[in-house]
Subunit: 447 residues, 2 copies
Amino acid sequence: MRKIVIIGCNAAGMTSAGYSRKTDRTAEITVVERGKYPAYSRCGLPYVIEGVIPNLEDLLISPVEWYRMNKINLMLETTATEIDTSEKTVKITHKEGEERTLDYDSLVLCTGAEPVTIPVPGKNLPQVYQLRTIEDGRRVFETAKERKSVAVIGARFVGIETAAALRHRGCEVTVVEMLPQILDGILDPEFASEVQKSMEERGVKFLLNSALEEIKGDGHVEAVVAGGHEFSCEMVVTAVGVRANIGLAERAGIGVSKRPPAIKVNEKMETDVKGVYAAGDCVICPTHAVVPQPWMSQLGTVAVRQAKIAGINAAGGNTKFPAVLGACASKVFDVEIASTGLTETCARRFNLDCISAGAKLPARPHYLPEKVPLRVKLVARRDGRLIGGQIVGIKEAGLRAEIISAAIAKGMTADELSMLDNCYCPVIADANEPLSTAAELLLRKLR
Amino acid sequence: MRKIVIIGCNAAGMTSAGYSRKTDRTAEITVVERGKYPAYSRCGLPYVIEGVIPNLEDLLISPVEWYRMNKINLMLETTATEIDTSEKTVKITHKEGEERTLDYDSLVLCTGAEPVTIPVPGKNLPQVYQLRTIEDGRRVFETAKERKSVAVIGARFVGIETAAALRHRGCEVTVVEMLPQILDGILDPEFASEVQKSMEERGVKFLLNSALEEIKGDGHVEAVVAGGHEFSCEMVVTAVGVRANIGLAERAGIGVSKRPPAIKVNEKMETDVKGVYAAGDCVICPTHAVVPQPWMSQLGTVAVRQAKIAGINAAGGNTKFPAVLGACASKVFDVEIASTGLTETCARRFNLDCISAGAKLPARPHYLPEKVPLRVKLVARRDGRLIGGQIVGIKEAGLRAEIISAAIAKGMTADELSMLDNCYCPVIADANEPLSTAAELLLRKLR
């Protein structure tokens, strides 16, 4: 009987376990998790704080019962301390101190990632939080009841979602970002400033081009210094990205990269040690769909897909992880944001000869009382092949980014997208699909 | 200076004119339309009757001003009576009797289609309507104020949308359909009965397997006989499809097909007479994306795309119409319906060796209070290549069908769709995209 050990019960770990079980009905599957909860949705945390999702515990992806039903041996509050790849064993320690050694035939590393901390004075004050765990969520939620003035450090998805959530809760919120734009790598500057403007209209303040320098306070947070400015606040939430947990793998001699820190895998999600797989925020994807090089994604969707491949292969299957596109989405206030492939800025960083077209386009016929304006941008190579897309609007942005994902993944050109068979019915969509219209604008530039 | 004459100012005619203008800034462009309105959205008619769209005249796609601004000579209430393809002239007659002859370098036939009438006793009674024109819309709208018991004949999109609209207005509505299911060719039976059931829950009655035999009444509609049943009603709306207007083309010696009646075109949307193009409901598409044979579509979206090609080529451009997929969508009550490519039933009619998988899947994480269950069905060839998809749900069906359209158009397999880069954010989409989950179910059947 095959023994499969999975380290980490996050989205990747849970998914790996599930697919291992689907692939091998009799395998002995053990998942070791150092935290007290099995896999939950980290992406839901800001929306619990906002109040859209009622309870933090609701975020559990599957109840403990699911593990039992699938005969998955779930060991919570248990830390894997050492892997011996020649003996094929993992040493684990329960929080009560009990130590054990697990044998494995296949091992899946889902060690995840930790939030990056910013090494500034005051970083250890109470009321300086991250938003990565249910415990973090609880702290931010509770503190926001009393302390109504907040600095959010970092303006990628977690940062702006947390800012919107706290603003929604009545806080005064200032977002501090080191770069000259929010959502770098996700949106091009003109789209990013559109989102920023819409958040400013809802009362969120932004301080761009400003690195965090100091958190001031005597026993509790009183002010933040960033980019030479000082402003008072009572709580700080840092959201400046995560760093892969690679220590365990590294100590076991499993191949890792240092910049960025990540466990290296092939397209079977197998590390350089046979029988040892890895998935989720701790790994670097073998290749990107547009630029053929390893790609750090650290998205929940990618983690789930990687884990599916790792889980199947760990259980004796043979399947491959495709090139990654990095499709992602968010919603802040009433603005939906979606992006896939490369932004124009990013494409230029890779010296790709590309062209782009963007426009504000209606997703409903003009005669319908409901208005759904979308800002759409497409990026393509000079030969017309699409390499990226961004959409911002009140709704339907995410699904349109998925159409672009399918287009990029299959080498579709702007010409083909401009003629794509769309679904028209006045109350749900216009006869002229915004994506096709944007593709046509791109075509005109290409000629 | 190039002279372009377009016959018919429907969606196809208007679009042709617009793209001719974009292609040739100086051409003399004339559009001849026998009706009193320039192009309007026929698909919007049921929603005006329902009350979602305030006024019938709102349905105009572009105001008369648009034609003037684009220097398009719009001749309303003017009928093209004869084409001489060797002399390159079109005879036209204004409704006041004035006759003229127009010269052309390029001619675009957008003669559209007429609703099929059912040759039964009583078909000429007042209160027996179609729903094709603004005038039809006005008649149905006005009559429904007084006459609250309606039979709708035909259960494709126009039929069920009209039924839902009239039910919404408080009418007793019975839909009569000759076939054993509603939405034949659009949905497979199990999906069709799901939609039917949801309409029945809102009070619409259905009489399937029942051909219309007679409309009874003494001076006004009193009852309908269909499939051997008789039931009383005060108004009848027939919606049993349309037949292409090919008479003018046929008399001019332009190549047409008889079954179904249609003007034949190549992929440049050019008829067998050089310089004479055709687009919209009067033509048969050169080829279908799944079955390589001519395909009658008669969808607004296809008309617009054909007209784009015809308009560009008529103005000296050189562009091609791709294979058609027939993506389409509708909304009745709170049910959104979308379909693209072939249904399983349709694929079997073409003797394609195919396989399908369907499931009811959530489009939101379980922990979100908003529930968006979708019924998804995918159809694929034995080699895994997708050939069709159907989605029914409260929203987001249409855009998902477009993802499937892109997939089919580019030869995507179920395996690739199961791993497609999707956009996840709890409040707008689940990490597990229903399309990918459905693709995975399909994969399991393929193995």
